[in-house]
């Protein structure tokens, strides 16, 4: 399973916090699009999960908690991409995604230089060398 997998609601809550940090559960609930408007208690339990996953921080203001994101959008994406790289390498995702080049360190400098020379030679053969 993906270590950094997040549900749709978790992402919706994070999206709301990225747009405006330091919100309480009620304010977050209002900022989630009306189509998937969850109940306040669902948002509270989602925030609890995100807090346990160390993706949001919280501080008590009055009776309620105020939440802020602990990771930026690009940081979370970086983590997800890292998962993709690992799963691609393991071959566990190969039937759902295809990648332009693999991350495997299968070519050393000499092989890369050989390939470069091969391309240059072909270019020359075609009369396109500079």
């Amino acid at each position: 399973m993906l270590p950094n997998t997040l549900g749709e609601l978790e992402l919706g809550v994070l999206e709301a916090l990225w747009q405006e940090p330091h919100l309480d559960a009620k304010a977050i609930c209002q900022r989630i699009p009306a189509i998937r408007q969850p109940s306040l208690s669902t948002v509270q339990s989602t925030l609890e999960r995100l807090h346990r996953k160390e993706l949001v921080t919280r501080s008590k203001t009055g009776h309620a908690y105020s939440y802020a994101p602990r990771v930026s959008r690009s940081n979370l994406l970086g983590r997800l991409m890292g998962d993709i790289i690992h799963l691609l390498h393991d071959g566990r995702l190969e039937t759902i995604l295809s990648s332009f080049v693999t991350v495997a360190a299968d070519l050393d400098d000499k092989s890369l230089a050989d390939l470069e020379a091969l391309i240059a030679r072909k270019k020359q053969e075609q009369g396109r060398a500079p």
Binding site: L80, I85, H89, T95, I96, V103, K122
Partner: protein, 322 residues
């Protein structure tokens, strides 16, 4: 009823397993010819090759249990009477074992399909929220140079901002052409079908054949991009992106060093020797299709008699042990 279903399940599973083993054993003989074909044709033929054991076993077992077709394809012979008949297991216990085994296999395949589908949907949901749509593809705000096509029915292209920034306009065009080819050909679905059709064998046995399918599929998309941008340009972009990926060792999994498939090297060499690849003509495709039909037709007779022989041998064995 149990006996008929059990016989059907046992014959289908037995034949699927036998054909899968046979196809794995024969593959090294056919491989050089298949890899000489134009990758677009090669990938289609390779997919057909890996799907054939499953499809042929299911179809021929179905024909075996359809009296009109069975009468045409199986030489008339008599047991107690001379009526048209399908092979039948006498023992309810053996028939039940066949049903249980087939149910297990089908459940395993279904489970594998559902878990992969769930994972794909999760990834889609995440990337759709986190990515930004740029026309026909999504940009992901991440430093690592990565581009991929995700999904089966309606695959989408995701490209990291790290890669976009490192690319020239031509590189980006080539990469997107390549990924669009995956999208149009529904390559992820093709790979899934091939993998599921070979799921009856342990993964290490079928690994090399399926890796070839994956490699030729990538080449087919490289060749599609080359139709618009030229083989040399695609080869150069491949090399450039590979260098870029390798220049960021922090992104590589620790065990990546042991992984020694020379994927990009093979693809670049294939592009540079593109003119040497053989394209199949229409009559050759028709001949192959006819060959497949003949293979299926000739399978039914031996399958009928072979099944009856195995059933009678099992019956004798059961009687002796009692």
């Amino acid at each position: 009823m149990i006996n008929s279903v059990g016989t059907f399940a046992s014959i289908w599973l037995g034949l699927w397993l036998a054909l899968s083993v046979l196809f794995v054993l024969v593959y090294p003989l056919l491989r050089p010819s298949l890899l000489k074909l134009h990758p677009r044709h090669g990938s289609t033929l390779l997919l057909a090759y890996w799907v054939l054991p499953f499809a042929a076993s299911l179809l021929s077992t179905l024909i075996l249990f359809m009296p009109p077709a069975e009468t045409l394809l199986v030489k008339a012979h008599c047991h107690v009477d001379c009526e048209s008949h399908a092979p039948l297991i006498d023992s309810p216990a053996l028939a039940l074992a066949g049903i249980v085994l087939a149910t297990l296999v089908v459940t395993m395949l279904f489970w594998r399909f559902v878990t992969t589908l769930r994972r794909s949907r999760q990834l889609h949901a995440q990337f759709d929220v986190l990515g930004r749509r740029r026309g026909t593809w999504y940009e992901m705000e991440a430093e690592c140079p990565l581009v991929f096509t995700l999904g089966w029915w309606r695959p989408r292209i995701y490209l990291s901002s790290g890669l976009r920034e490192a690319c020239t306009a031509q590189d980006l065009d080539i990469i997107l052409q390549h990924e669009r080819a995956h999208q149009e050909r529904r390559d992820n679905l093709r790979l899934l079908v091939a993998r599921l059709c070979f799921a009856i064998l342990p993964a290490p046995v079928s690994r090399h054949g399926l890796a070839d399918l994956q490699g030729v599929t990538e080449q087919a998309c490289d060749f599609r991009a080359a139709e618009r941008c030229g083989e040399l340009a695609v080869a150069e972009t491949l090399l450039k992106i590979k260098r870029l990926v390798l220049s960021r060792p922090a992104l590589l999994p620790r065990d990546a060093m042991a992984f020694a498939e020379r994927d990009v090297e093979t693809r670049i060499k294939a592009l540079l020797q593109a003119s040497a690849r053989i394209r199949l003509r229409r009559w050759q495709w028709l001949a192959l299709l006819a060959l497949g039909g003949v293979f299926l037709g000739t399978l039914v007779g031996p399958l009928h008699h072979g099944s009856e022989w195995v059933i009678s041998a099992l019956g004798d064995h059961a009687r002796l042990t009692h």
